[in-house]
């Protein structure tokens, strides 16, 4: 049985000039595997990810024929049931730790908050668990990082903290929304490999959202290519180069290749789709 089942998901924003559909009918299912969602900005990939957690703020609306997590109906779950899901079983790592960590709370408080509030752990136990989580994301001096405020951390370190925070409750599904796009290129690889290893070791399901086709191909088992709120192609990562949809092919053609010709890269031709 699959972990996550999404059928005909639609996300609509009611604006002054009428409703705007950001996601226009997306279906997919996910087991304990790694699914990539690729697309340009505005293709609806982030909205798809957040819909799973039901975190679309008004004026946005979520509709779907069905959306279940481990057999549980997410679409009609109460807010209380959703909270239990969010904290415990589904986590999400967001793009930029500069914005996704609370600027006026210490890292330690943000890490232990869930443990203390939801799991009712004592201060010492929670701190020990948080430090272990920081060590798991290869932060060298966790005790000191616990005392730090987010602005005192580098981007890479901030994102590790974010990953640690989301992995503490050992969720079954992790949504990573452009987890490395805001980081320096040199740091990206490290953060990715940490994420990769943790997901693999714990056998979590992963939805990896990115605009970077090649990254997704390397990192995931299966890839959804999204364009203008629709899934235009679903393909196993290994066969990405054999994609048939003109949009995917167009995207692939825009990538530079080692040993390729030195012609200028083609610009995506939008006329075809």
């Amino acid at each position: 049985m699959s972990l996550l089942e999404v059928r005909n998901l639609r996300v609509t924003f009611d604006t002054e000039t009428g409703p705007v559909q950001a996601v226009r009918g997306v279906s997919f299912s996910l087991g304990h595997e790694r699914l990539g969602i690729v697309g340009e900005s505005g293709s609806g990939k982030t909205m798809t990810g957040r819909s799973v957690l039901r975190l679309i703020r008004p004026p946005g609306r979520i509709e779907a024929d069905a959306m279940t997590f481990d057999g549980q109906d997410i679409l009609n779950a109460s807010e209380r049931e959703m909270r239990a899901l969010r904290g415990k079983r589904i986590g999400m790592v967001m793009q930029d730790p500069k914005y996704s960590l609370n600027p006026v709370m210490t890292v330690g408080r943000q890490l232990t908050e869930g443990l203390r509030l939801r799991d009712g752990l004592g201060r010492a136990d929670a701190t020990a668990k948080a430090i272990a989580a920081l060590e798991a994301v290869q932060i060298r001096d966790p005790a000191r990082v616990m005392e730090a405020y987010p602005h005192e951390l580098s981007g890479g370190m901030g994102q590790r903290v974010m990953i640690a925070m989301m992995l503490i409750p050992e969720p079954e599904l992790l949504i990573a929304d452009e987890p490395t796009s805001a980081l320096d290129v040199t740091v990206q690889a490290e953060v990715l490999s940490i994420l990769d290893r943790l997901v693999r070791d714990r056998g979590m399901g992963l939805i990896f959202i990115s605009h970077d086709l090649r990254l997704v191909a390397r990192f995931c088992d299966r890839v959804l290519v999204m364009h203008k709120g629709l899934v235009v192609e679903e393909i196993t990562a290994a066969h990405l180069m054999e994609a048939r949809h003109p949009y995917t092919k167009g995207l692939l053609n825009c990538l530079p290749r080692i040993g390729g010709t030195r012609q200028p890269l083609p610009v995506l031709d939008r006329a075809g789709f």
């Binding site: 957690l53 415990k88 967001m94 908050e113 290869q138 005192e152 925070m165």
Partner: protein, 354 residues
């Protein structure tokens, strides 16, 4: 694997000291500017201070003597230096009407104003912050509309008129509160002659003396003006709280807190509120300062013997040293509040401490 440099050890005390010193520097410059403005105003006064002392029939020699005594024969910049020096030592000149030092008189009047404005700010904060949060979490709802309209009404209300209406309704018609003044005359005598004065603020002094009947009477007097000032400050605080809260609730870290499964009360009152608090401190300080100033009009309505009454009384007896002295004191209170809020701001916001 890679080594990640740990963040530098922070020293929480030293930067704060530096900030305070810097703040004091700014404070000094601002106060100097303030004194310059009052000095300029004082020198433009069409009424000659000499004439008011010696009278119309004085001889040339007498006038010259007085001018010399008052230092008016000196060049302007020297007069200014003397003025500043006097002010720094707490000498704001002598009242023309009573002949007593302005500073000493103000010291007697100021606690009444402070008591009123403080209580008003406490009311305003206690009601305004929850109201603003309520409105921000349900934008467009009935609650939001009510908070908005009630707030805008407070913004639009002439405070002296509000005071009159308050007296008319709650004192004249309903008789729920006591009328103008800080105490009934009998209690006033008691306060004056049998109780020890510690702060000049009746609520505190009577409580310290254990004179609860005086305290009760004082409460029945202060509740109306403080409530009205509180309404005005609530209007401002609730509006600002709403807008700050809306802004914070749109931030990504709020999503993070929700992803962590935090209940809504915690998302709002802990995660968002901690951030709202940072600008809110400035707003509360500003509204406090505004109430100190608003007292000028309120105090005349409620016959409240505070700084506001002192300034307006002085105004009508053309007692310029008293008017300007009062102005300087309110200005200093303003600037000090600003600086205090700045320091608090740095304490609350870790990003500003670095």
């Amino acid at each position: 694997m890679t080594s990640i440099p740990a963040p530098p050890q922070r020293n929480r005390v030293l930067p704060l000291v530096k900030q305070i010193l810097l703040g004091l520097g700014t404070l000094a410059i601002t106060l100097l500017g303030l004194l310059l403005i009052t000095f300029v105003i004082a020198r433009v006064v069409p009424t000659d201070p000499v004439l008011s002392i010696v009278g119309e029939r004085a001889t040339e020699a007498q006038i010259a003597a007085i001018r010399e005594k008052l230092g008016l024969d000196l060049p302007l910049w020297q007069q200014f230096v003397i003025y500043v020096w006097d002010a720094v030592r707490g000498d704001l000149g002598n009242s023309i009407k009573t002949g007593a030092p302005v500073a000493a008189e103000i010291a007697r009047y100021f606690p009444a104003t402070l008591e009123l404005a403080t209580l008003g700010t406490i009311f305003g904060t206690l009601v305004g912050v929850p109201a603003g949060v309520l409105a921000a979490t349900r934008p467009g709802s009935i609650a939001d509309q009510i908070v908005r309209v009630v707030g805008l009404l407070g913004y639009s209300m002439p405070v002296f008129w509000l005071g009159l209406i308050g007296l008319l309704v709650f004192y004249g018609q309903l008789d729920w509160v006591s009328g103008p003044g800080r105490l009934d005359p009998t209690y006033d005598m008691m306060m004056e002659f049998t109780l020890t004065s510690y702060t000049g603020m009746i609520l505190i002094d009577s409580a310290l003396n254990g004179a609860w009947d005086v305290f009760g009477n004082a409460v029945s007097h202060i509740i109306l003006p403080a409530g009205l000032l509180g309404y005005v400050s609530m209007a401002y605080i609730s509006r600002m709280t709403r807008s700050f809260m809306m802004n914070e609730l749109g931030q990504e870290y709020i999503t993070t807190a929700r992803v962590k499964g935090m209940p809504e009360w915690r998302v709002i009152w802990v995660h968002a509120m901690k951030n709202v608090l940072v600008p809110l401190i400035t707003v509360i300080a500003l509204s406090y300062a505004y109430l100190l100033e608003g007292s000028v009009l309120t105090e005349t309505i409620f016959a409240w013997p505070g700084l506001g009454s002192y300034i307006t009384d002085a105004l009508f007896s053309a007692d310029m040293p008293a008017v300007l002295g009062g102005t300087v004191v309110v200005g200093v209170a303003f600037v000090t509040l600003n600086m205090l809020s700045d320091i608090l701001y740095r304490l609350v916001d870790p990003r500003a401490r670095a």
